[in-house]
Amino acid sequence: MEFADKFQKDFYLNFIKDDRWRYIVNGLGVTLKVTLFAVLIGIVLGFVVAIIRSTHDKAGSMSKFLRGTLNVLNFLCNVYLTVIRGTPVLVQLLIIYFVIFASVRIDKSFVAIIAFGINSGAYVAEIVRGGIMSIDQGQFEAGRSLGFSFTKTMMLIILPQTFKNVLPALGNEFIVLLKETSVAGYIALEDLTKGGDIIRSRTYSALFPLLAVAIIYLAIVILLSQLLKLLERRLRSSEK
């Protein structure tokens, strides 16, 4: 009875009193918002970089101007990948918030979206590039021999197959990203983790708020994994 009593008391203290559950719910909203938009930026950026890099490696003859442009773009992509993958995401977040946006008042979740999006893009780019490179060269040649341009061959033949192949790795990247956003508290963004932490600092009781935060992350990840599994199965229907 004593335990149940203490449980009830702690629960009340951490979640009900002063409407503290709002920290968790609002934080969850921020975490989901940041993750969702960062994923979108990551996908767009990642695919663009991957296409530039594999076009640079793969494409045959082209005019001097195109080749030159491609070389410059490829170089920029390489710099981007090296810098982003070579430094911690937290340092990138801090630099973007305290250095780049130092003199402007700006929505913190916007900063987080930018930082995590740019970061995720680098990893997505290498996943997608690996996917493009793993498609048999014959697929490319078949497309070109029918008369498709390089771009059309990419859009109609290579990328649909790539997407299917990289989906598990992409899903993994997004799960990592969701959890990585928990460092956003460093710029005082009140995300899910920060929300739990605020409760802890008010109630001096760590177990309940942190456990709640952990369970919520876990639930989202499990849900996300299931959705990905479903999508994967649908895309694989052609390979019975």
């Binding site: 048999d136 014959g138 040649e141 078949a142 021999s145 029918l146 008369g147 033949i157 052609s238 019975k240």
Partner: protein, 255 residues
């Protein structure tokens, strides 16, 4: 993109494909060492030779899947190795069949066949489907229209690959060892389709090891070795009266 100055081209008199002194270097290796050949409308040219002789490279240079290092290829009077040529337009008129079939695994048989005509020639889905179904019927695979490539046998895949190329109504068909990746019992069904094409006077260039088939179907046989054409002639001249020693010893080994 501007098309090259088209010299007057008469499909009945002038060669459909004219290859002049074609050269291809791969990192120090001379895969093609000056190949010249004229291919006329209705010709069925078989290219044979030992492996590494450059015959596949030669074929792949015809639609510039390989970029030649020197020489010229004219197709229907246009120098397609020229600078400002939109090769994609010319490739629509040159069907190609690969050793490894290269069907698109994420599309059904029907989608494989209609995607290029719909996208490139702006043919309606209904018209493209009708044409595709007729071609499928011809190769006896009408009932597999909605199958995915992975559900087909090798022979079926290659027959689909052939009709996929035919959907673009090409003026010439290029075959790059079309039966080399097939189990022996499936070779016949693919050769049967090719025989049908030859009988319809489709212009064909075939790289193959099927000597008996070459003897039967070819209008001209070309022997390549070390990146050059050593000998060429009608099947009778070629197989029964080979002139060069290289060809004689080659035929001894393969026949």
């Amino acid at each position: 993109m501007k098309n090259n100055a088209k010299i007057a081209f008469d499909p009945e008199k002038d060669p459909l494909i004219s290859v002049k002194d074609l050269k291809k270097k791969f990192k120090g290796l001379h895969a093609l060492n000056g190949v010249s050949l004229d291919i006329y409308k209705g010709d069925v040219v078989f290219v044979v030779g030992p492996s590494g002789s450059g015959k596949s490279t030669f074929l792949r240079c015809l639609n510039r899947l390989e970029e030649p290092s020197g020489g010229e290829v004219y197709f229907e009077g246009v120098e397609i190795t020229g600078k400002d040529v939109n090769i994609n337009l010319h490739r629509q008129k040159m069907g190609m069949v690969f050793q490894q079939f290269n069907l698109f695994p994420h599309m059904t048989v029907l989608q494989n066949m209609i995607i290029a005509p719909m996208q490139l020639q702006k043919i309606s889905r209904a018209d493209a489907t009708e044409m595709a179904m007729q071609l499928l019927d011809r190769v006896g695979l009408k009932d597999r229209a909605d199958a995915y490539p992975n559900q087909l046998s090798g022979g079926q895949k290659q027959r689909i690959a052939i009709v996929r190329a035919l959907c673009m109504k090409p003026d010439v068909m290029l075959f790059d060892e079309p039966t080399s990746a097939l189990d022996p019992e499936m070779v016949g069904e693919v050769l049967q389709v090719m025989r049908g094409l030859a009988e319809e006077k489709m212009t064909m260039v075939v790289v193959t090891h099927e000597m008996a088939f070459a003897k039967e179907v070819a209008s001209k046989v070309v022997f390549m070795a070390d990146g050059v054409i050593l000998e060429s002639g009608t099947p009778d001249e070629f197989f029964n009266h080979p002139k060069t020693e290289r060809l004689q010893s080659f035929l001894e080994k393969v026949l």
